[in-house]
Amino acid sequence: MVDLRLADFPLLSLIIWLPVAGAALLFVIPRSQEALIKIVALLVALADFAVSLPLWFHFDRHFSGFQFVEKHTWIKALGAHYFLGVDGISVLFILLSALITVLCILISWESITDKVKEFYIALLLTSAAMIGVFCALDLLLFYVFWEAMLIPMYLIIGIWGGPRRLYATIKFVLYTLLGSVLMLIGIIVIYLKIGTFEVPTLMRMGLPYGLQVLLFLAFFAAFAVKVPMWPVHTWLPDAHTEAPTAGSVILAGILIKMGAYGFLRFSLSFFPKATLALAVPMLVLSIIAIIYGALACLAQTDLKRLIAYSSVSHMGFVTLGIFSLTANGVEGAILQMINHGVVTGALFMCVGIVYDRTHSREISYYGGLATVMPIYAAFFMVFTMASIGLPGTNGFIGEFLILLGTFQAKKWATVFAATGVILGACYMLWLYQRVFCQKVNPNIAGLPEMKLRELVSLLPMLILVLWIGIYPKSFLSFMHPSVNGLLQHVQAAGPVTSITQLIKEGLHAILFA
C-alpha cells in the first residue's frame, strides 16, 4: 500500500468537473451567439488552469505517495470508488492539460467557423476526461475516463478535420478501442484475482509471474497503441495530420502521453516481474520507433505529417527511458513527455497559424517564410531547436537524461537511440530550410505577420521551452520521490526467471486460470 494524503478540499474534482460544467453552460447558450460561446469557453479554460495552479504550489515534493486524495464509494456492488489523487508522476500532466486547453481555445478562435458550439463543448469535455485519466486511482474510473475521451476526440477529428478526416478518425477510434478492450479484460482479471480496483493497493500486489506477463501484454495493447509504439503507430500520422490544429495539439500534447503514463502508473508497478523480463523487447521496439520515425520524417512532403512522424520518434525516446528502468531514464522520460507536449504542441500551433492563412500544408508550397513573417520564423526556430534537443532548450535536458539512464542500463541501446538525435537534427533543420529560408515562394508573398492572439498562445510554450531548458530542477524536483519509490519496487521484484520458465507459466495461466 502506497501512502495516501487526503485532501481537505476536493481540488482534483474541481479541476475535472469545472470544464464539464462549462460544457453544460455552453450547451444552453444559443447557437447564434458564437462570440459569447468562445468567450465563455476561454474563461472556463482559464478558470480551470487557475484552479489547477495550487497543485504546483502546494504539492509536497518530498512525499512519494499520493496527495490531494479524494475517495468516495461509486459502485458499491462492484467495489469501485470515485478515487482521485496525484503523485510526482502525474501532477505535471494535469497542469499541462489545463494549460494546453486554454491554448487550444485561443488557437481555434478564428479557424473554427462551423458548429462552433459543438467544438468548444467537445474540447472542454476532452480536457475533463484527460485530467480525469491522470487523477484516477481506481482502475474502473480510470478506464471510464480513458474511453470516454474517445467520444469528443472522434468528433473533433471527424467534424473539423482536413480532407481525409473521416478515414483518419475512424482509424483512430478503432485502433484505440482494440487496444483498450484488451486492457479491460486485464482489469477484470486483476479485480477477480485481488478483489479491488484501488490502484494504491494494487501497486504493491504480487501476482504469479506467468499471469503478470499475460496482463502486461493486455495492458501493453492499450498503452502501445496510445503512445504509439512501432508497429501500431499507423493511426497517428493520419489522425495528427487530419485533425484541426486544436485536435493535433491535444493529441500530441496530452493524449499520446496517456499511453506512456499508463506504462509508468500501471505496467511497471502492477507487473514488476513482467516488466523486468520484457524490458529488452520494449527497448528494441523503442529504438525501432526512434529510427523508423525519424527516417519517415525525411520522406514527408506534408508539414503536419512530418511533425506527426517526429512524434513517433520522440515517443520512442520516452518509452526507451521508461524501460531503461533507471532513475535518470524514467525522470528523463517524464520530462520528455512534458517537453514533447510543449514543443510538438507548439509546432502544430505554428503550422495551424500558417495553415489558417494559406490552407496548404505542403512543404513545397512555402519557402522564404522568414522574410515574410520574421517574428513567426523566430518562434518556429526556437521550437525547432527544442525539438532537435539543442542545449539550453528543454529537449536537450529530456533526451540527455534518457540517454544517460539508458547508458547506465544497456549501452548498446544508447548507441542506436543516439542516431535518432542526429536524424532529428537532419529532418527538422531541413524542414526549416525548405519553409523559411531560400527564395520567397510567390504563394506566400505578403502573408500577414502573427496576430497578438496567436503570439499570446505561443508565448507560454516559448517560456516553458526555455524555463525547462535552463532550470529543469523546478520540474524534476516533483518526480524524485515517486520515481525512486517506483523503481525500488520494480527492482525488488527481480531477478526474474528464464524465458522458458516464463512460457511454461504463461501456458499454465492460460489453461488453468
Partner: protein
C-alpha cells in the same frame, strides 16, 4: 414458500393485461377517438407494473412462480412496452393502424412474455411463447398496406412455427426421460444421456430462434425491416428478453446439472452470433437492417452470460437486457422520428447532415450509438463490463476476449451513423415528425442510458437480488 394450487393473485398482472387487451380489441369499433386506446394502453402498463410488484407468489401447483427473477424481466417487458407505445401514435396514425387492436396485440404479446418469464412448467412456457409469437407475427404485418411488412410477417411466421415444433419435440423428449414438466423436478431427475442432450439441443434451437441466435437469425433482418418501426423496437427488445428469460430459467434451473454438456453446445453458437451479427452489420445501408444485425450481435453477448452458468452470469444477463431496452428503443425512436413514406429516412445516407438540420435528435442518436458500442460513460459500457466480468469470473477469460474483439468490429457500423450525422452535409430534406410522446420516450431512454452509465450502483444491487 407457500404452496397453493389456485393462487390467482400471483397471476394478477397477466389477468389484468388480458382484460384490458380484450377490451381494446372488442371496443375498437365503438370508440372513435383512437387516442383513448393510446392513453389506456399507457396507463395500463403502469398499473400492470404495480400489480407485478405487489403480487409475488406461486400459483397453479408449481407451474407459475412470480419471483424476483420474473419481476425483473416483467419490468423490462413493461418498460419496453411503455416506450414502444410512446413512440407509436404518430407513426401508426400516418400508416393507418392506430386502432385498439394494435395496442391489444402488444398487450397480448407482453402477457405471453410474462408467462415465459415466470413459467416454471415447460408447457406453460410453451403456451407463453406461442401467445407472444402469434401476437408478434400479426404485429409485424399490422401495416397491411406495406408489402415488406407482409413478407416479414410471413417469413417470421413460417420459420417461427418450425421453431415451435422444435420446442415441442424437445419438451416431449425431456418429458419422456424425466416424467415431469416442472423445471425443479426435471432438475432432480435429469440424467445426462444422448436423448436428453438431443432434447436440450432442441430447446436451444427453439429459444435461440426467438433471441435471433446465428444460424437461426435469418428471419430477423426481414422481420425487423418490414415491421412498423415501433413494433421493431418492441420486438427487438421485449421478445429477445422473453427468449432469454425462458433460456435462463430452463437452462440454469432444469438443465443445471448438464451445464458442462450444454456449454459446449452453446459457446460456439454464442461466438458465431457475436461475430456474424457484427460483421454483417458493417455492410448494411438500411438503418433498420443494421440495427437488426446489431441486435443479433447483442444476443451473442448475452448468450455468454447464460453460458457462464452462474448466478452472476444470469444477473448480468438481466442487467444487459434492461440497458439494451433503453438504448435500442431509444435508437429506434430516432428512426421512427425520421421515417417518412416510401422508405425515406430508412437509408443510413438519409442521416447525413442530421446534426446540422436537427442537432438535438442527432445528439440523442449519438448517445445511443456510443452506448450500443459500449463506450463509457454510457450504460452500454456498464452492461458489457458486468457481463464480461461474469464470464471471466466463471473461468472463461478467452470467451471475454473474443467478445470484446467482436465489440470492436461493432464500433464501425455504429460510429458510421455518427459520422453521417455529424461529418457529412445534408443531401435530402427530412421532415421529422416531432411529437410530445416521442420526445418523452427519447428522454426516458437517454436518461436511462446516462444514469445507468454513471451511477449503476443501486441497479446492480437489484439485479443481484433478482436471480433465482
Amino acid at each position: 414458500m407457500p404452496f397453493s394450487l389456485l393462487n390467482f393473485k400471483a397471476l394478477a398482472p397477466e389477468i389484468f393485461l388480458v382484460l384490458v387487451a380484450s377490451f381494446m380489441v372488442l371496443f375498437d369499433r365503438a370508440i372513435r377517438a383512437k387516442d383513448f386506446f393510446f392513453w389506456t394502453a399507457l396507463l395500463g402498463t403502469l398499473v400492470a407494473w404495480w400489480l407485478c410488484r405487489t403480487s409475488l407468489g406461486i400459483s397453479f401447483g408449481e407451474s407459475y412462480t412470480a419471483d424476483h427473477y420474473g419481476f425483473f424481466l416483467k419490468t423490462i417487458f413493461l418498460l419496453s412496452l411503455f416506450l414502444s407505445i410512446l413512440i407509436s401514435p404518430v407513426y401508426a396514425r400516418r400508416r393507418g393502424f392506430h386502432f385498439g387492436e394494435y395496442y391489444g396485440l402488444l398487450y397480448f404479446a407482453v402477457c405471453g412474455m410474462m408467462l415465459m418469464a415466470s413459467g416454471t412448467d415447460l408447457l406453460l412456457i410453451y403456451i407463453g411463447l406461442e401467445l407472444m409469437s402469434l401476437s408478434i407475427y400479426v404485429l409485424v404485418a399490422v401495416d397491411w398496406k406495406d408489402p415488406r411488412g407482409l413478407e416479414g410477417g410471413l417469413k417470421y411466421f413460417l420459420l417461427g412455427s418450425l421453431a415451435s415444433a422444435f420446442l415441442i419435440l424437445g419438451l416431449a423428449i425431456i418429458y419422456g426421460r424425466t416424467g415431469t414438466l416442472f423445471l425443479a423436478k426435471i432438475h432432480q431427475h435429469l440424467s445426462v444421456d444422448p436423448a436428453v442432450l438431443a432434447g436440450i439441443a432442441f430447446f436451444l434451437v427453439a429459444l435461440g430462434f426467438k433471441v435471433a441466435m446465428v444460424p437461426f437469425h435469418m428471419w430477423a433482418p426481414d422481420a425487423y425491416e418490414g415491421a412498423p418501426t415501433p413494433v421493431t423496437a418492441f420486438m427487438s427488445v421485449a421478445a429477445k428478453a422473453a427468449g432469454f428469460a425462458a433460456l435462463g430459467r430452463i437452462f440454469l434451473l432444469a438443465f443445471a446439472s448438464a451445464h458442462p454438456m450444454w456449454i459446449k453446445l452453446l459457446v460456439p453458437f454464442a461466438v458465431l452470433t457475436m461475430f456474424v451479427g457484427n460483421i454483417l452489420a458493417v455492410v448494411q445501408t438500411n438503418i433498420k437492417r443494421m440495427l437488426a444485425y446489431s441486435s443479433v450481435a447483442h444476443a451473442g453477448y448475452i448468450l455468454l452470460g447464460i453460458a457462464a452458468g452462474t448466478r452472476e452470469g444470469l444477473s448480468a444477463v438481466l442487467l444487459y437486457l434492461l440497458i439494451y431496452a433503453f438504448m435500442n428503443i431509444g435508437a429506434f425512436g430516432i428512426v421512427t422520428l425520421l421515417q417518412r413514406e416510401g422508405g425515406v429516412g430508412e437509408s443510413i445516407y438519409d442521416y447525413q447532415g442530421l446534426a446540422r438540420l436537427y442537432p438535438f435528435p442527432a445528439l440523442l442518436m449519438l448517445l445511443f450509438m456510443f452506448s450500443l458500442t459500449g463506450i463509457p460513460p454510457t450504460a452500454g459500457f456498464m452492461g458489457k463490463f458486468y457481463l464480461f466480468r461474469s464470464v471471466v469470473h466463471a473461468g472463461h477469460p478467452w470467451l471475454a476476449v473474443l467478445a470484446v474483439l467482436a465489440s470492436v468490429i461493432a464500433a464501425y457500423p455504429y460510429l458510421r451513423i455518427v459520422m453521417f450525422m455529424y461529418m457529412r452535409e445534408p443531401e435530402r430534406e427530412l421532415r421529422p415528425a416531432f411529437s410530445l410522446s416521442l420526445w418523452a420516450a427519447l428522454g426516458i431512454s437517454a436518461l436511462g442510458v446516462l444514469i445507468i452509465g454513471l451511477y449503476p450502483g443501486s441497479l446492480l444491487h437489484a439485479v443481484m437480488g433478482s436471480v433465482f
